[in-house]
Symmetry: C6
Subunit: 75 residues, 6 copies
């Protein structure tokens, strides 16, 4: 399955880098729980749990750090 959209860490802007970070975080979870129905069932659980949302924010921040470095911080 696809884990890195376009198979590249290169993006034109920080905004696109952030979108890639969110996608990569989601695809990693999909690789661990490939059952779409199970993922649908879990969505309302984490979407209403602030600690889950914060933890997702932590994963996105970590993915983004790598993507930002890969793009030399869009300098």
């Amino acid at each position: 399955m696809e884990l890195v959209p376009s198979n590249s860490l290169k993006t034109a802007t920080p905004q696109e880098g952030r979108e890639l970070a969110i996608k990569m975080a989601r695809l990693a979870i999909k690789a661990t729980q490939p059952d779409a129905e199970a993922r649908e069932r879990l969505r309302p659980v984490y979407a209403e749990n602030p600690d889950s949302l914060i933890a997702i924010g932590q994963v996105i921040a970590t993915e983004f750090a790598t993507i930002a470095a890969a793009n030399d911080y869009w300098r």
Copy 2:
């Protein structure tokens, strides 16, 4: 939706870098839970939970590490 205000990691000062880190952390959570009412409902839960507040501090620290590197630490 906007994930990186001004679509740039560049800021004039560490203070502004910190403000950007906080905004980016919030926008990542908004991307995961786009329902404004749900986010409002969750606010008093995490705002009164020290572990949630600490976890948010961890996300901000991680976002800030990237922003600080992007600004060459404002040296």
Copy 3:
């Protein structure tokens, strides 16, 4: 036991880097819990727990950061 497939962090693409990150994360857990039956027993527990899935995503993001740096971000 094998902890790094092919004993190398080098991969041709980000997609393969991501696959390596997932494998290394799994092999580290296997090194800690080598009993295959125990791991099988635990699978439905974490696969139905959103916080476990998010935590696995965090480990994958951290492993991937190292692999991406090792490959100079496939630039």
Copy 4:
């Protein structure tokens, strides 16, 4: 509100860098929970919970990593 004392990551010594890390961690939490009374109410909760204290240690370690890099590790 002030998020980075003196609006600078520069410090004379590692000790001062560590003090800055602690202050920045606290100010980030203050930005999320601006109500001083609420923060006072939560203090005895986390101060008597080892897991909260460890999590605060994790945030401080992360902030310090950035500050140390900003000061070229005081070499």
Copy 5:
């Protein structure tokens, strides 16, 4: 007590770097809980808890990042 086997971060291969990461993670826990009997008693607790295993995976990933950098990623 010994915290870094051979007192060196240098390893010949990624596989050996990974083994060192696992050992360093275990030795840090041993430094915090030096009582061997207590550690034995805790083993079945974390070995049957997926969240504990994932958290151990996170520590190993973090230790490995440092070891990999120390070895210039075995390039």
Copy 6:
């Protein structure tokens, strides 16, 4: 209070770097909970909790990453 022993991140060896990481992690917790009696009371709680021990291992790994970089990995 002292937060960085000898006010330096420089150490002669990885072993000493690891000892410094452990000390800095403990001093950060001491800065947050300065009451020695309270810390004594909490010790048996975290020392018998595998998840607390793993979380301490995570903090040590993070502190060590900074110290290792500060010492150019003792290369």
